[in-house]
């Protein structure tokens, strides 16, 4: 039983109450595993309330091969609080382990202890969490570290990787905090090492990054921040809102160190106004918000479109409408991102599908905003914003420092025309201070000089200009606007997806392929303008097309069937949780069977 596994795919779920150190335990676990060279995807769930008690879950999937999403079933559940963990016992796979407090102090009513709920197919591991913590540290607080020590012992994981992360985590605290937590870890490690293992052997060897590369753990929001920094963001204006707040927080800590500025405005309207204002001056400027904030920003985005002013808006979606479900994930702001606002206000909308994509998309968003003189909306969602993945940052900064078509490109005669008609529909853009670049900017429809004009031919021409210039974004250098995965050529089922759900789509597609179904999946990263040609040729190959989305209306499905007039099969969920791989797989199977019949 204790043989070395070739490859590893093991998902841990640590569940406890706020105050148990659940999220901290998950954090140390994922960092230790990433440090050892494993690939990690992790996602934490905590209570909606900012203060107080409530359920916390930290799920960490550790693999040797690339994985794309969390699994529905965890292999190991660690309970720091049975009352919260009990409803999740059913999520543990067959022969998965359930680790729990063996000696709770409080008297439990019948069924109050987790052993009442462990299925015959699951493996129970009772651990004296409190006792070990108290013996090692004189306090019960380190129970979360105790369970980590036990896990390391049980799964034969190098304890030093954990000790290093523990030391790093508590670096800013008194030295005793690190020593006592390490003592708790070590004590439990010995217990885990010697306990009789009912099943699993040790984990497979991790696949280390290629020479010269270092893998690090990042969240989607963390990657956005890094992308902003590498793209040379100058100014950031933000107003806090879950799940986008951490972008503001991290930039506030980072950007000033590099000469940039961060301002917390009084609301979202100010934030977008200031961003557009900064963009107007030639700065690389951005803001970040969620659906309710984007609704407030819609008006000013229209100004950005009309004034052809670069700006970047990061939108991390949560359940809506209105205040909605602030701490639950959803993909229901596609409509407002693409269409929100008055008039024909087309802008660029991008949606990365994983943490690495967040980095690239953030940086490229600044290039595009500048190159095509437009607002760019980058859509994330809570699941992607908060989920951790191991990523290998590029050795060289991949972003162009400036893509502005400046006054040097002005070829006209006479007075400068800010909105001059050009072949690529992008006009030379003067910024304040450019000599000879004085011009008018207005939200009114305007002439090439920027002067208000409601002449019918002018409005026709300017509307066309604002739309046509964006088409070039479909071939923006070094950026993947959409990509096909899986089987080449004709397939039974094709899956079209966007945003964070694409991870689950890929896993479902691989499972379907393994079950003998010919299928492929296409991620659509650029949602406006839509890569119609690529989508059409993908759909031409597919017997049936499935569009799984975390929204009720089928917003991408509507976009595709509306723009392309092609029927698709929708799969929509608004549970507040990520889409389940199994749900997508079941739909793929159904469609494949229907086709075979």
């Amino acid at each position: 039983m204790a043989e070395q596994r070739e490859s590893t795919d093991i998902q841990f779920a640590v569940i406890g109450s706020a105050g148990d150190g659940t999220i901290a335990a998950g954090d140390i676990l994922k960092r230790a595993m990433a440090g050892l060279g494993y690939k990690v995807i992790a996602f934490d769930i905590y209570p909606a309330e900012i203060r107080g008690f409530g359920k916390c879950i930290s799920r960490v999937r550790v693999t040797t091969e690339q994985a794309y999403s969390l699994k529905r079933h965890s292999d190991v559940l660690v309970s720091l609080d049975d009352s919260y963990a009990i409803p999740h016992v059913g999520e543990v796979c067959d022969f998965g382990a359930v680790i729990y407090e063996a000696s709770p102090i409080a008297r439990q009513p019948e069924g109050g202890h987790i052993t009442a709920h462990i299925r015959p197919t699951q493996l129970p591991y009772g651990l004296n969490q409190r006792e070990i913590s108290e013996r090692a540290t004189n306090a019960a607080r380190s129970r979360n570290i105790v369970v980590l020590g036990y896990l390391a012992g049980l799964y034969d994981i190098d304890p030093q990787a954990f000790r290093d992360v523990i030391a790093d985590k508590f670096r800013s605290k008194a030295a005793i905090v690190t020593t006592s937590n390490t003592a708790a870890f070590d004590a439990a490690y010995e217990v885990g090492k010697t306990v009789f293992k009912l099943d699993q052997g040790s984990l497979g060897e991790p696949v280390h990054a290629r020479e010269g590369e270092t893998a690090t753990m990042m969240t989607g929001n963390g990657a956005i921040v890094r992308g902003c920094m590498d793209a040379g963001l100058d100014t950031f204006f933000g107003y806090p809102i879950t799940p986008a707040t951490t972008i503001l927080e991290r930039l506030a800590a980072e950007l000033p160190k590099h000469g940039g500025r961060v301002l917390q405005t009084e609301d979202e309207i100010s934030a977008i106004s200031a961003t557009i204002g900064a963009g107007y001056t030639g700065a690389r400027a951005a803001t970040a918000t969620s659906g309710p904030g984007l609704a407030l920003m819609a008006e000013m985005l229209g100004l950005g479109v009309m004034g052809e002013i670069p700006s970047v808006v990061f939108v991390s979606q949560r359940g809506g409408p209105s205040t909605g479900l602030p701490t639950k994930t959803e993909q229901s702001d596609l409509n407002i991102a693409v269409f929100g606002g008055a008039g024909d206000a087309q802008r660029i909308v991008l949606a990365p599908t994983n943490v690495d994509g967040c980095y690239r998309t953030a940086g490229k968003a600044f290039e595009m905003a500048e190159k095509y003189q437009t607002p760019v909306v980058v859509l994330l969602d809570l699941y992607l914003s908060n989920r951790y993945e191991t990523v290998v940052p590029p050795a060289k900064n991949p972003f162009a420092p400036s893509m502005n078509k400046g006054l040097d490109a002005w070829r006209g005669e006479g007075a400068y025309q800010r909105y001059q008609k050009t072949d690529d529909h992008v006009s030379p853009r003067a910024v304040p201070g450019d000599e000879g670049g004085m011009h008018t900017v207005t939200g009114l429809e305007h002439s090439e000089f920027g002067k208000p004009s409601d002449l019918p031919e002018n409005h026709m021409a300017m509307s066309a200009k604002r739309h046509e210039k964006l088409k070039a974004a479909l071939t923006h250098p070094d950026f993947t606007i959409c990509k096909r995965f899986g089987d080449e050529g004709p397939v039974d089922v094709g899956i079209l997806g966007w945003g964070s759900t694409f991870g689950e789509i890929l896993e479902a597609m691989f499972a379907a392929q393994a079950a003998g179904i010919r299928c492929s999946a296409m991620k659509v990263v650029m949602l406006s303008p839509l890569p119609e040609q690529q989508i059409v040729s993908f759909m031409d190959d597919c017997g049936a097309v499935l569009v799984p989305e975390l929204n009720y209306e089928g917003q991408l499905a509507n976009l595709i069937s509306g723009a392309l007039g092609r029927p698709v099969t929708r799969l929509n969920r608004v549970t507040g949780a990520p889409m389940q791989v199994e749900e997508i797989l079941a739909e793929i199977r159904r469609l494949a069977q229907a086709k075979a019949a």
């Binding site: 102090i105 008297r107 009513p109 069924g111």
Partner: protein, 342 residues
């Protein structure tokens, strides 16, 4: 709607499982819970010698497929040690501090290996065979072709000895009055049976009293058994086999009568109207012997579980034990026991 009757069985061995399925057959609507201290579902203890033939996976010795519990709506509570039973409130307390109510309780808690007081300090230096986990741990401690020193013997140990010798280990047996437990051997037969053991390949050391177990010195096997006369015997592992004693401590405050085991009438009813007992944990009243007595062996134990369950569900039938305690020597000169015929 009235709550279904909660039938609780403490013990996940032959008696407890025989009782559970009988209860299910006779009372389809009741709630049935089996409680065990162990972490595994019901497996065949008689199959444990297979561990020394290379069986590494407990799934290979399970008595039922894992779906059995769901199929029969039996809740299995593992890693759940009962510390107390209160007959008046009809409640059970677990070591993990949970309290469970029962309507009818069947105690099938079996027995555990007896260890003479004088050796109890050395428990940590000995290896066990009472569970799958213990058997695996023992095997891992044994080098290839290594030596097992068995203290006592008993039919459980001798069964293991047969396998150990068959797969190439050495077995040195310190024979004493427990060697043929639970068989009763007349003094004049003993020499013949000891000779049969030697014929089976067991190295018998008779008449020596072990008083200590020590770690072996560097360069010698891992353990040394010291005798009262100062002599000693080396081995890689030392395993005590002194028969079984009932596991009944957690019943001390239950209100039922206990001698060594739980005292039951032939219908396996204890002195509490809501508590029955079956298997190695109970002493059954025998009118013929005019005493409470134990019935060992797998046929008796399973039957006890079934009889107790039938009586829980309304019959009043006595347990009729198989009392075949004779030991034989077969044509090949090896010992034969009904205990081993499973």
């Amino acid at each position: 709607m009235a709550e279904p009757t909660h039938n609780v069985i403490i013990g996940n061995g032959s008696a407890g499982n025989g009782a559970a399925i009988t209860l299910r057959e006779r009372d389809p609507d009741s709630r049935i819970t089996i409680i065990t201290m162990g972490s595994l579902p019901f497996y065949n203890r008689y199959d444990l010698p297979r561990v020394f033939r290379g069986c590494d996976d407990w799934r290979e010795i399970l008595v039922h497929p894992l779906a059995y519990y769901d199929d029969n709506r039996i809740t299995l509570r593992r890693n759940s040690r009962v510390t107390d039973v209160d007959g008046r409130s009809r409640s059970i307390t677990f070591a993990h501090n949970e309290v469970m109510h029962y309507d009818q309780l069947l105690v099938c808690a079996g027995g555990r290996g007896y260890l003479p007081e004088e050796l109890s300090d050395y428990y940590g230096l000995m290896h066990g065979f009472h569970s799958f986990e213990a058997a695996i741990t023992t095997r891992r401690a044994l080098p290839e072709g290594g030596t097992v020193v068995m203290l006592g013997g008993d039919m459980i140990g001798l069964d293991l000895a047969r396998t150990l010798i068959d797969v190439g280990y050495r077995v040195a047996l310190l024979a004493n009055e427990y060697t043929f437990w639970p068989h009763r051997i007349d003094a004049d037969e003993r020499g013949g049976f000891i000779a049969a053991l030697e014929h089976m390949g067991i190295e018998v050391v008779d008449g020596m009293r072990p008083v200590a177990v020590e770690e072996g010195a560097a360069g010698t096997p891992a353990r040394r058994v010291v005798f009262d006369d100062g002599g000693s015997l080396d081995g890689d592992v030392v395993m005590p086999f002194y028969g079984l004693v009932p596991t009944a401590e957690f019943m001390l405050r239950s209100g039922v009568d206990i001698e060594r085991g739980l005292l039951v009438d032939p219908q396996l009813h204890t002195t509490d109207p809501h508590i029955w007992a079956a298997g190695d944990v109970c002493q059954i009243w025998s009118a013929a012997d005019n005493e409470y007595r134990f019935y060992y062996g797998w046929t008796n134990v399973r039957q006890m579980g079934e009889v107790a369950a039938r009586n829980v569900t309304g019959t009043n039938e006595p347990f009729e034990g198989v009392d075949d305690e004779r030991l034989h020597i077969g044509k090949d000169g090896h010992i034969l026991s009904p205990f081993w015929e499973h």
